[in-house]
């Protein structure tokens, strides 16, 4: 098994009508053994910007800590929150700095930009950005997630429908992956509120 499959992860982000949703699984494992079933993969940068980091757990924790540091400095200098597009460029350049000894992470970034327009993107381990208008996926279950999202996604969904869709896509995909699952964690973000929900999934 490759280094990206050492801990196991599943991440997906979807765009709705003036809102977005980002979801992850909750398993932390060491190859086939499950260590924890409440691992946080998605973190808040500010109220309208979330980042999920899949891949090697130690690298995702370290990368997250460095990003928080850089964002806090930005906030002090610029006296405002970073836009999602800017933040994505920051992540991409930080990853490319380590081109010949990379962080083994694939980030999924989701946020509300100017005029609360939803923005999602994902990157490979060395910072190649992939912007999408509908959905982005990452992790060991990514192939199943692509299939599930492709068939379940509709444009311009409201927050409640978006939550249902992303939850079904996540749960059905991780049920076909040995290394991810054991529950789900979904954030649905609209211009006025952030709703965090835990999904009840198969624990095998």
């Amino acid at each position: 098994m490759s280094i990206f499959e050492y801990n196991g992860s599943a991440l997906v982000a979807m765009v709705g009508k003036n809102c977005f949703a980002i979801a992850s699984d909750r398993r932390l494992g060491v190859q086939l053994q499950t260590i924890a079933t409440d691992f946080q993969r998605i973190s808040k940068i500010h109220d309208k910007l979330f980042i999920g980091l899949s891949g090697l757990a130690t690298d995702s924790q370290t990368l997250y800590q460095r990003l928080v540091f850089r964002h806090k400095l930005y906030q002090l200098r610029e006296e405002c929150d970073m836009k999602p597009e800017t933040f994505a460029s920051l992540v991409s350049s930080m990853q490319y700095e380590k081109r010949f000894g990379p962080y083994f992470c694939q980030p999924v970034i989701a946020g509300l930009g100017d005029d609360d327009k939803p923005f999602i993107c994902t990157m490979d381990a060395i910072g190649a950005k992939e912007l999408a208008k509908d959905f982005v996926v990452a992790g060991t279950a990514s192939e199943s997630l692509y299939g599930a999202c492709e068939s379940m996604f509709k444009p311009d969904m409201e927050a409640e429908e978006l939550f249902e869709t992303i939850s079904q896509a996540l749960l059905s995909s991780v049920d076909r992956d040995c290394l991810s699952g054991w529950g789900g964690h979904v954030y649905v973000v609209t211009p006025t509120e952030v709703k965090e929900r835990i999904l009840k999934g198969r624990m095998d």
Binding site: Q31, L32, Q33, T34, R176, C178, L179, R202, M203, D204
Partner: protein, 271 residues
């Protein structure tokens, strides 16, 4: 000498020695491929066919008989190829075999063993013992040792001497015992099984122990999951006791209690 009775797909239609003078029938063989590096080719083939032993199976003897249980997941690396594989194979009405390793290997050789057991019954007018059946299988697997078969099975049954349980594997090993668990989830199953085991259990207690052991293995092991099947082998033969979906078993053992709003606010203000 390899046992090839099962590999010949059809008997020879030509009767030897009647009209053909002096011809000796050739022993069964198959064509070898043309290749520069035959040894390397054989090694690669064995690696290609070698499946992962991602599974949890267990069996134990207790006062009332033998309890056999298994999960039902088939995995190829990280991908789950099936959640509904039958891993407990019914060799005959009073003997069961468990599947771990290569599905094709286990299914084929268990069926072959069933045939041999029936032939023994017809030839000797009495049922074969579990000792005898496991020895038949072990000898066959030993003759194929090193050729890439992957079988980690337990033969459980009830014969004239009472309950019998043997572990047989494709390396040629055969062990008699009271408690076995085979597969990638076996360490987790052993933990639950060893701490809850008592010889004087009733059938209900034993089946609940077996089910719990499989459930705990599916929770911790990524390569085990699906349905926990439990079979009981008693004096009148085997009987399937339960087949519970492990996803539902989790919430049966750990019911979800909705927390009140006040509790949530306290947690949010914590460190």
């Amino acid at each position: 000498m390899l046992d090839t009775t099962a590999l010949e797909s059809f008997p020879s239609l030509i009767s030897h020695g009647i009209n053909v003078a002096g011809e000796i029938s050739a022993p069964p063989s198959f064509q070898l491929p043309n290749s520069n590096d035959f040894d390397g080719f054989v090694k690669e083939t064995i690696q290609m066919v070698k499946p992962a032993k991602g599974t949890t199976t267990l069996a134990f003897i207790f006062k009332e008989g033998v309890m056999v249980a298994a999960d039902s997941r088939a995995s190829m690396g990280g991908y789950i190829s099936s959640q509904s594989v039958k891993k407990i194979i019914e060799i005959n009405p009073y003997m069961l075999g468990t599947m771990a390793g290569g599905a094709a290997d286990c299914q084929f050789w268990h069926r072959n063993l069933g045939i041999k057991c029936r032939l023994h019954e017809l030839a000797n007018k009495r049922r074969i013992s579990v000792t005898g059946a496991s020895k038949l299988l072990a000898n066959i697997l030993y003759s194929y040792r090193g050729m890439g078969l992957s079988v980690g099975t337990m033969i459980a049954g009830w014969d004239e001497t009472g309950p019998g349980l043997y572990y047989v594997d494709s390396e040629g090993g055969r062990l008699k015992g009271n408690r076995f668990s085979v597969g990638s989830g076996s360490p987790y199953a052993y933990g639950v099984l060893d701490s809850g085991y008592k010889y004087d259990m009733s059938v209900e207690e034993a089946s609940e122990l077996a089910r719990r052991a499989i459930y705990h293995a599916t929770f911790r092991d990524g390569a085990s999951g699906g349905v926990a099947s439990v079979y009981y082998v008693g004096p009148t033969g085997w009987k399937k006791l339960s087949g519970d979906d492990v996803g539902e078993l989790h919430y049966h053992y750990n019911p979800v209690t909705p927390s009140t709003v006040e509790q949530e606010m306290v947690e949010a203000a914590g460190p």
